[in-house]
């Protein structure tokens, strides 16, 4: 019984929300080169708000490059050149006047390897609010608690906020990084293979967290793990050799892909 009921509820939910959803990121004809290496080719993607969008594909397909382009972190690599348009909330982030610092306060990022600062847990979470000028201790306290609760790690660390974050386990560190990202109250959260350095139990916790966060944030997640994409995402984009092969509802991609290459990849024939 349950197996039949569940998907019905899920689709019903989706349809009601679908109508109101607007785009957070609209990518049009994005091309990107590392020196002479053409890494992203004519990417067109329309990413909706309050959804989890998974980006899958084999190594070197450009999925990490793409997600790092969304907050322009890719520009830390000097040889990178781009063309095309990425509209974030209807404004092109490649515009000369566009302040990249402003973009990054609205678009948080969680990295592949947990990278907390060598500071106390409290100072890690308060880092973002502090750089944006919040000095009031009471407000900072509230932000820290809210963010740690949001990242489902409050109960584990509430008694040792002043301890160095390096003393935590890898899985806890990654959730601290997610909390740190929540502390700037972003609109979008980019996650670049956030569970690839974690054990299965920590991975499960992060996945549950992503499901939870979806209510308030739009999440774009790059993953190597196709089961993970199938478990947690609403939409999935399949990247191959710098191109988007297919972008659709996750259920459709995994049950009935329209492109042969997608089918080959998800059935494990390559990659």
């Amino acid at each position: 019984m349950t197996t039949i009921v569940k998907p019905e509820v899920k689709t019903a939910e989706k349809e009601t929300v679908k109508k109101n959803k607007s785009s957070v990121y609209k990518t049009e004809q994005l091309n990107l080169w590392y020196g002479s290496n053409h890494a992203l080719k004519n990417i067109d993607l329309d990413i909706k708000e309050n959804e989890v969008t998974a980006i899958i594909g084999p190594s070197g397909c450009g999925k990490s490059t793409y997600i790092k382009t969304l907050n322009r972190m890719i520009e830390t690599i000097p040889s990178v050149k781009t063309s095309g348009v990425i509209n974030y909330r209807d404004k092109n982030i490649f515009d000369k006047e566009y302040q990249v610092e402003e973009l990054r306060t609205k678009v948080g990022m969680v990295f592949q390897k947990p990278n907390p600062f060598p500071k106390s847990i409290y100072d890690n979470i308060a880092y973002g609010p502090r750089i944006h000028g919040i000095k009031n201790k009471k407000i900072l306290d509230q932000i820290v608690e809210k963010s740690l609760r949001g990242a489902a790690i409050w109960d584990e660390v509430k008694d040792r906020l002043s301890e160095n974050a390096y003393g935590l386990s890898g899985g806890q560190q990654q959730r601290i990084c997610i909390a740190r990202c929540l502390a700037i109250e972003p609109d979008v959260i980019l996650m670049d293979e956030p569970t690839s350095a974690l054990d299965p139990i920590s991975t499960l916790k992060v996945e549950e967290l992503v499901q939870d966060l979806k209510k308030d944030y739009s999440i774009i997640i790059v993953t190597h793990n196709m089961q993970q994409a199938a478990r947690i995402s609403d939409k999935t984009a399949f990247f191959l050799n710098g191109e988007v092969v297919e972008f659709d509802e996750t259920d459709k991609i995994f049950s009935n892909p329209s492109d042969e290459r997608t089918e080959d990849y998800i059935s494990g024939r390559f990659g």
Binding site: N71, M73, P78, F111, P118, R180, C181
Partner: protein, 292 residues
């Protein structure tokens, strides 16, 4: 078919072990040589100088009579010199390192600068003395003053501070910078809140070691022409002065044998200062060292 003949290997084992023992002895001797020379030096200086090392030695000025000679003007001169050298060289040195590592674009020009900073560290100190004499003493007309000598010394140790700070800054993992940038921090905020806290032990250790080189350096002071017999203490950075190595140098030049013992007492004081400075550097390194 086996390629390793174990009988042959066993036959050769003994020669390999002998070689190992032999070389261990050679390396130990190399270490021992330095230690012995240092021990002789320390022994001679302490036996020679300890008679003159009294409370009066620290409170009297230089004199024609060995028994009355003191090191007061030289100690205060060296302290004043450090008061100029430390802020000037650290500000310029750390600033340059931050610019080169964090702000400057990686291109041929910055590479050229980086290579040449390391080369500058190898320039003889006499050359820096001549530079100081020409630019600070004569051209800017600062005279034979603490400021002129301090600026010259700052230039001398600048390359050491820059290189040490660059290495400390480079050792900060890039993921930490990325984490900061990804939250909308500016480059300066990232430097102030992430890069500097993580690199400050390395920067301070390098800087203090560079400063202890400056406090023992004589050649630039000789070239600038600072006096050795001074009957007053400096009253500001434009005042003329003498410094510890200068005073020691002068005493060793004197014909009277007694003055050589006075010089030894001066060397003990200088070494004491160096040991204090180096201990501070070690203390800072151990206290703030962080693991990544």
């Amino acid at each position: 078919m086996k390629y390793v003949n174990h009988e042959e290997v066993a036959a050769k084992t003994k020669t390999r072990l002998t070689k190992n023992t032999l070389l261990k002895g050679v390396f130990a001797a190399a270490t021992g040589f330095g230690l012995i020379v240092l021990a002789i030096l320390l022994y001679r200086i302490v036996t020679q100088g300890s008679d003159y090392l009294s409370f009066e030695f620290f409170t009297s000025f230089a004199s024609r009579i060995p028994e009355n000679s003191g090191i007061k003007a030289a100690i205060l001169g060296s302290v004043y010199l450090m008061l100029v050298v430390a802020p000037v060289s650290m500000f310029l040195g750390v600033g340059t390192a931050i610019y080169l590592e964090e702000y400057a674009k990686r291109n041929r020009f910055t590479n050229f600068i980086k290579v040449n900073i390391s080369n500058l560290a190898g320039v003889p100190s006499v050359v820096f003395g001549l530079l100081g004499l020409t630019i600070f003493v004569r051209y800017f007309d600062l005279g034979i003053s603490i400021l002129a000598a301090g600026l010259t010394m700052s230039l001398l140790i600048l390359p050491i501070i820059i290189v040490a700070s660059q290495e400390a800054i480079r050792a900060v993992p890039n993921e930490l910078r990325e984490a900061s940038f990804a939250m909308g921090a500016t480059r300066w905020q990232t430097i102030l809140r992430v890069v500097l806290p993580a690199s400050i032990p390395g920067i301070l250790t390098g800087s203090i070691l560079a400063l202890s080189r400056a406090i023992g350096e004589t050649a630039p002071l000789v070239v600038i022409g600072i006096p050795t017999i001074l009957m007053f203490t400096p009253d500001g950075i434009m005042s003329t002065f003498t410094a510890l190595p200068m005073q020691i140098f002068d005493w060793t030049k004197r014909p009277q044998v007694e003055f050589h013992d006075v010089a030894a007492a001066g060397i003990i004081v200088l070494m004491g200062l160096l040991i204090i400075m180096n201990s501070i550097a070690v203390f800072i390194r151990n206290k703030y060292q962080k693991r990544y």
